[in-house]
């Protein structure tokens, strides 16, 4: 008898948890500044924090990477920082790098994120050699609606695999790009960890 009471209580409790979870999911609005900070033990790598007070951008990057800041401004697109890693595997070299570009000169009010995404992918395909889109999906960056794409392009001697995610905050368009060459060294966890750590203040 007691066994059935315990089972009924467990099933009831589980039902409440499921219903509440669904309600939370339905009610999720990606408009707040939710900062998802991954735990240090979620990856084998340690991460350092890059915090730029002037732009209000904070992001984490692998501790064994180097940092180049303020790389230049191209037509209103500020290449805020590039994180890079020089890898040597046996007698071969590989490269990983990630950068953040902030644009403050584009008129983006009239474009929805979807329109922006479609036109952006077309432009990328036109400007990169042998552009092959592997993934394109909506995501969340710093609690804001964002879009992420993953693709392969032809490099000088091997394929390059890149992931880019972008979002719009106010009148700024923020783009995070992660790249690896050759593509075999593409680490999706590194890319996702960095994107998850992005905080726009």
């Amino acid at each position: 008898m007691n066994f059935f009471i315990v089972c009924a209580a467990l099933i009831g409790g589980l039902s409440i948890v499921v219903v509440n979870t669904l309600e939370l999911y339905d009610g999720h609005v990606a408009s707040g500044q939710v900062f998802f900070d991954f735990e240090e033990n979620s990856s084998n790598m340690n991460y350092l924090v890059f915090d730029d007070t002037s732009s209000g951008i904070r992001i984490k990057y692998p501790s064994n990477w180097n940092v180049l800041e303020r790389l230049g401004n191209i037509s209103g697109n500020n290449i805020l920082v590039d994180f890079y890693h020089t890898g040597i595997n046996g007698s071969l070299g590989y490269s990983e790098n990630a950068n953040i570009v902030v644009s403050d000169s584009h008129t983006i009010d009239s474009q929805s994120l979807d329109e922006l995404t479609n036109s952006t992918i077309r432009i990328l395909a036109r400007n990169l050699n042998n552009f092959t889109l592997q993934e394109s999906l909506p995501t969340i960056a710093s609690g804001l609606p964002a879009h992420k794409i993953t693709y392969i392009v032809a490099g000088n001697q091997s394929e390059i695999k890149q992931t880019q995610a972008w979002t719009v905050k106010g009148d700024k368009w923020i783009v995070v790009s992660y790249s690896a060459e050759p593509s075999a060294y593409f680490n999706p966890r590194t890319a996702q960890n960095m994107l998850d750590s992005l905080l726009l203040r």
């Binding site: 790389l71 590039d82 880019q164």
Partner: protein
């Protein structure tokens, strides 16, 4: 490396012409590390062309494209530098052999002259700059004389030791020699002088 990267990146990103070199040029870009500087010169030369392209299509300067092309350019720079390091490492590891010859000459029972010559074992060319460290140990293993120096432009090095003849009886001369890019040499030979 950081300094060279900074210079390269500033050079590359400002005109963003490297992007368009990668994106549009059908020419094979030079990949050997020593050509990094040459690439910069190429970048400067393409600047005007690039600006025209930017003006033609304003949308190509969106931040996503800039981010993508920056990543491509950074990979290229990083791999060039990395390849440079790898090549340098490989060059160092390709160790060659050299031959070190020594002749010992005693005079007046008080002076010992040691004359060294270093030659490449394959080409027999004289090797300057060979670092030589040596010492003489007596029969008990106690080192009594020390000398060190570099071979001259003729691959030669001479040392004069002021000795006493009876001290050189049944002694051992040990010499270590080093030259970058060559296997190190350590040789020893027992000799008796003044007998």
């Amino acid at each position: 490396m950081r300094g060279s990267l900074i210079m390269l990146i500033i050079f590359l990103t400002c005109p963003i012409s490297l992007f368009y070199t990668d994106a549009h040029s059908q020419e094979q870009v030079q990949t050997s590390p020593q050509n990094i500087i040459d690439e910069n010169l190429t970048v400067s030369g393409l600047e005007n062309t690039t600006r025209i392209r930017i003006n033609e299509t304003e949308t190509t300067t969106d931040p996503v494209t800039i981010g993508a092309l920056t990543s491509v350019a950074m990979n290229k720079v990083i791999l060039n530098v990395t390849q440079n390091v790898l090549n340098e490492t490989a060059r160092i590891l390709e160790l060659k052999e050299f031959v070190l010859r020594v002749s010992a000459q005693e005079s007046d029972d008080s002076t010992l002259s040691l004359n060294f010559s270093a030659l490449d074992s394959e080409t027999s060319s004289e090797l300057p700059g060979v670092s030589i460290d040596g010492w003489i140990a007596n029969g008990s293993g106690i080192s009594t004389y020390f000398f060190s120096g570099l071979t001259d432009s003729n691959g030669r090095s001479a040392f004069t030791l002021h000795t006493q003849a009876d001290e050189l009886y049944n002694t051992t001369l040990t010499v270590e020699a080093f030259l970058r890019g060559y296997s190190s040499q350590k040789q020893s030979a027992a000799f008796t002088l003044g007998a």
